[in-house]
Amino acid sequence: MLLSPKRAGIYASALLAASLLVMSRPGTTQDVPLISGGVGFVTSTNAGNTTYIPVISPLLAAPLGNHILVESRATILDSYFPKGGGHSGYTSSSFLGLSYLQMDYIASSHLTVVAGEFLTPFGTYNERLSPIWISNFESAPLIFNLGTMNTGSSVGGMLRGSAISNDHVWLDYAGYFSAASTNEQFKSQRASGARTSLYFPQARLEVGGSYGRLLEETHENFEGLHLWWQPADALVKLRSEFAHGPHSKGYWVESEFHLASASSGMTLRRAIQPVFRWQQTFRSSPDPTDGLPGADTKRADFGLDILFPHEVRINSSYSRQSSTQDTNIWQTGIVYRFLFPTWRGK
């Protein structure tokens, strides 16, 4: 989507209005609305062509009373890439979009009602690892679009919460219904789905399953499984997901290594994090819209992340992707995470 000055003005006005609205409602001393997110600069070299992407992804969270939270995240970026076609120099395109704009009503200790545009709860990556200041790699997994209905966001309602939570096991759930929307800022498909996961906090082991059903002209089913294992004070974290769609399927396994345990605090050794991700996708029938490669693909991502003081991190990675042809992908990103109240206090 091209960013026009008019559209940018409308968006800025909406954000300003929302900020003024929430700022006019004083909460408790710890419930001041916040602005968080990340600002970064990413480079990606794919088959010899380098793209430069300055990006900012702000998040606004504003509590209203004791049970309601209004939150929204946007992404604004510019992509500078080679003109191609024998022309020298670069051209650019801009993108501005809302990832979500939702109101959460905490109805009880086991139930939260969400309304608005929200991140589609399928698998783990979309909700947990997609913020630019969290993700270990600059690129999303190849199977990201399976189950998230291409847009990654849904417009409608969601029920979610923790059904069981004790020292031994947690059972989380999320179920949603989304209407079709062609609005530029609230694109979604008519769909429904659910996710549930079991987490064993002492073993730091989580297993879960996701289901999504596309309810557009053709009805399609998507299934997903995820497994995370992050032993306490271990020097490695393992995350994995599998997703299956009507025309393709795939999985990714990511390991994050640490040179020192978390109990040693954030030392230099702890701040250097080698990461590795193995991905594979399988194409059963052609579907140019599901976001996966057109042919069976294998990809190995080797990364080195460094967490600097002052909330700065650098992600760098080399990827080797094998499909109908082999390609090398180099990516680097420097990201600063910001987190502050919407206004200064005494």
């Binding site: 909460g27 408790t28 001393t29 710890q30 419930d31 001041v32 609305p33 916040l34 600069f41 480079t43 380098t50 969270a61 504003a62 509590p63 939270l69 939150e71 080679p82 020298s88 120099g89 959460d104 905490i106 200790s109 939260t112 969400v114 947990r128 969290i134 979610r160 919460g161 923790s162 939570s165 989380d172 906090p201 730091r204 989580e206 995370w228 992050q230 974290k237 978390a262 109990s263 040693s264 605090g265 954030m266 030392t267 230099l268 701040a271 460094i306 967490l307 600097f308 003081p309 002052h310 909330e311 700065v312 650098i314 680097t332 420097i334 995470r337 987190l339 502050f340 109240p341 206090g345």
Partner: protein
């Protein structure tokens, strides 16, 4: 030198400048941030998480640290907002929310 090379060179210089400027600060630890000497470096409006042995610290590791590292510092005035956001995102129980809030706001 073409534009591509210039931008790459600028990125490399920026990265190494940042790295060299930040290396002396790498001695920070969560524990040391909590002691009074580190606290004195912070303004009164800012604070750092409490002792890692606390119940809240354990809950923090069991929940928040699965996805991201502990923030290096933030205003205590938004700790409740952060926890409400994470209560929804991570399906925290009310008790977990209180424990982690106490950890973030000792």
């Amino acid at each position: 030198m073409n534009t591509d090379l210039k931008i790459r060179a600028a990125c490399i210089v920026l990265t190494f400048s940042l790295a060299s400027a930040s290396l002396p600060a790498f001695s920070w630890r969560i524990e040391s941030i909590q002691d009074s000497s580190a606290g004195a470096r912070q303004s009164q409006a800012r604070h750092q998480p409490a002792a890692p042995e606390s119940k809240g610290a354990i809950k923090f590791k069991q929940n928040c640290s699965r996805c991201h590292e502990a923030p290096q510092g933030f205003s205590s005035r938004i700790s409740g907002t952060i926890l409400r956001h994470m209560r929804v995102r991570a399906s925290l129980s009310p008790q977990d929310e209180r424990d982690i809030l106490r950890f973030l706001n000792p």
